[in-house]
């Protein structure tokens, strides 16, 4: 009779938190190809964000406004510091700079149509101004980038405002990229490049270095355009206090501050996920710089990077921003990553909601592509209408919150209306941890 062996319990196979599935697949991809991963969109990992803040609505100690009857204004004026013709927006939600090249002409047209219907602005990008966009955007901001692709004085004069781009939240310190698949004849001609090459654009401006030069550069653009147009300076969030102060000193009318969650058309994954700080951490130091210079609300602050709904808008404004910009969310409103295209996303080896190979130009939604057939799938009128709806919803949502806090203008929201859910968010946004008076680094526990 054989003696029965006691059964040894087995440890369940355990996956590593450090070497998770996505990390391991990237190691295998890198080992197979020898080149870094390039993708579109913004940081995908979870970082402290607006979700970590809550509003304190009015109650006994505060007085709310009637939801549908009492006015809660949403308009914003940008660029009154020096420009003869400042920008007037009906909503503080603007469309961020996204290049023709990275986006199809139809997508640009749809952005223009949607934004114009909502009374807000769109922005060109690293590739110049197209007729589609100028024609359909009632307010168009023209980017002045390091690459200067397509830059010309006629378009400068056609613009309603000019945005000097120093950096982007997805890649502060990095230049643009557009891979060969998207450098079609038209894109190549606008950028003055050979067709089909992998374009790398410079990360520094060619004719100035440092803040003193920037001041002279801004003055030059003002001279060329006879001091008519507001001049924005866009920076990726890294050292917001100093960068905002220097931009103001250099003469900016408006500062655009883009956090690490901000989207990009194409950048190295490692850059997107590991360089720059979340927008939540950047707003207070930026506002502090404006306040220290006596320029808060005189030089406007537009913030971006992961803005999705009216609550995000209200929180950004409460922390001291004057307006926000959206990129990724606007593309989703147009139809990017839509589940009805699941079958096609599967063919590309991905799934609806996770598609980010925007640089490859094979977007089944016809948005991040230059392929004439794919592009036709995006109806600019319908897509523009969806964007207009979405912008209206964001604006109304922000109003709902502002009224609940007793504010007759979105700009009357203030940090005192907010609390934080986490210690990190409390320290970054400098609002107390919910239910306490504690702000780490500011007040004692």
């Amino acid at each position: 009779m054989s003696e029965q062996q006691p059964k040894i319990p087995q440890t369940k196979p355990r996956f590593s938190a450090t070497f998770d599935e996505s990390t391991m697949s990237e190691i295998r991809r890198a080992a197979a190809t020898g080149i870094y991963d390039i993708r579109g969109a913004g940081a995908k990992r979870k970082v402290p964000h607006f979700d970590d803040l809550l509003f304190l609505g009015a109650s006994v100690s505060r007085y709310p406004l009637e939801g549908y009857r009492e006015k809660c204004a949403t308009d914003v004026v940008l660029g009154a510091r020096f420009a003869k013709k400042p920008i007037h927006l009906k909503t503080p939600v603007t469309i961020a700079g996204m290049s023709f090249g990275s986006l199809s002409a139809n997508a640009k047209e749809a952005l223009g149509r949607g934004a114009s219907a909502a009374g807000t602005s769109t922005t060109t990008g690293d590739g110049g101004m197209t007729q589609e966009e100028r024609g359909h955007s009632s307010i168009l901001v023209y980017q002045y980038l390091p690459s200067r692709y397509g830059m010309n004085p006629d378009d400068l004069r056609k613009a309603d405002a000019i945005e000097v781009v120093i950096g982007q939240g997805a890649k502060p310190g990095g230049g643009g990229m557009l891979l060969g698949q998207k450098i079609t004849k038209r894109v190549a001609k606008m950028r003055c490049l050979p067709e089909g090459i992998d374009q790398r654009s410079s990360c520094r401006h060619p004719d100035w270095t440092g803040p003193d030069d920037l001041e002279i550069k801004i003055a030059e653009i003002r001279e060329i355009t006879d001091w008519e147009k507001p001049i924005y300076v866009k920076i990726g969030a890294t050292r917001p206090y100093f960068d905002v102060a220097l931009a103001v000193k250099a003469g900016a009318d408006v500062v655009v501050l883009d956090g690490m969650q901000g989207g990009t058309a194409a950048t190295q994954e490692v850059f997107i996920e590991h360089v720059g700080i979340p927008i939540l951490a950047a707003i207070r130091p930026a506002v502090q710089a404006l306040q220290d210079l006596g320029m808060h609300r005189k030089v406007q602050l537009i913030v971006s990077g992961g803005i999705r709904n009216g609550a995000d808008v209200a929180k950004a404004l409460a922390l001291g921003a004057d307006a926000v910009a959206i990129g990724t969310a606007a593309l989703i409103a147009l139809g990017d990553n839509d589940p009805h295209l699941e079958e096609e996303y599967q063919k590309l080896g991905t799934t609806a909601g996770a598609y980010d190979d925007w640089h490859e130009g094979r977007d089944p939604a016809g948005i991040t592509t230059q392929d004439p057939e794919l592009m036709k799938r995006l109806d600019p009128v319908k897509a523009g209408h969806r964007l207009a709806n979405y912008l209206a919803v964001m604006t109304m949502e922000a109003q709902v919150i502002a009224r609940a806090c007793g504010k007759s203008h979105l700009h009357n929201l203030e940090p005192e209306d907010l609390v934080a859910l986490t210690l990190e968010a409390s320290a970054m946004a400098k609002v107390p941890l919910a239910g306490t008076n504690w702000i780490p680094g500011v007040t004692g526990f």
Binding site: I35, S147, R148, P153, P194, I197, I216, A219, E220
Partner: protein, 230 residues
Amino acid sequence: METLIFDLDAKPLREVNQFLHGDASGLNGKAFVIENPNGAHSIAVGLKSDIHVTVKGHAGYYAAGMNQIAKVTIEGSAGSGVAENMMSGMVHVKGFASNAAGATANGGLLVIDGDAGLRTAIALKGADVVVGGSVGSFSAFMAQAGNFVILGDAGEGLGDSIYEAKIFVRGKVKSLGADCEEKTMNPEDRKILADLLAKSGHAGVNPDSFKQYGSARTLYHFHVDNAGAY
């Protein structure tokens, strides 16, 4: 030809530039002189009609920036970014030019009689640039299109990451940048060079005394074997 004189000691530059941006029909064919420039920045920027502006002295940054159609002559030296992003017309610097002369210029002709600084013709996008003297390091960095003629020497890293621009150098080149190589001059390029020499006051100079440089086109596509060159 009617000549109008602006004295920058007496009239703010902003007013002068604004006047020069006036309706082309009223300005075309006219000549202007700017006196006492004293190194002011942004002199004669954004011009767009057929006028001739002469700057009597030294100009600061971005003189004649984004020029279209007009001719601008600077009788002294020019600061950084002279004729930056020029579209057409001509800019003539009789003295020296500082850094980034002709940066991103799309069209027209920039002539510098003296030496030019670092990053001359950086990101050139189609204009012609002729430098009578030598140019500093990193000139023609990422130059995309256009012709760049250097009668003197060139510093380090000439034509780094160059695209389709053509560089002609008569003197010594300290070093070439990534993906820039010497080319054999074909008759068409020789003609381009001869024409530019004639237009820029160097008619007597023999085009055969120049060497030509351009893109080796090895960096046009991201490739693992090129990783070290980026």
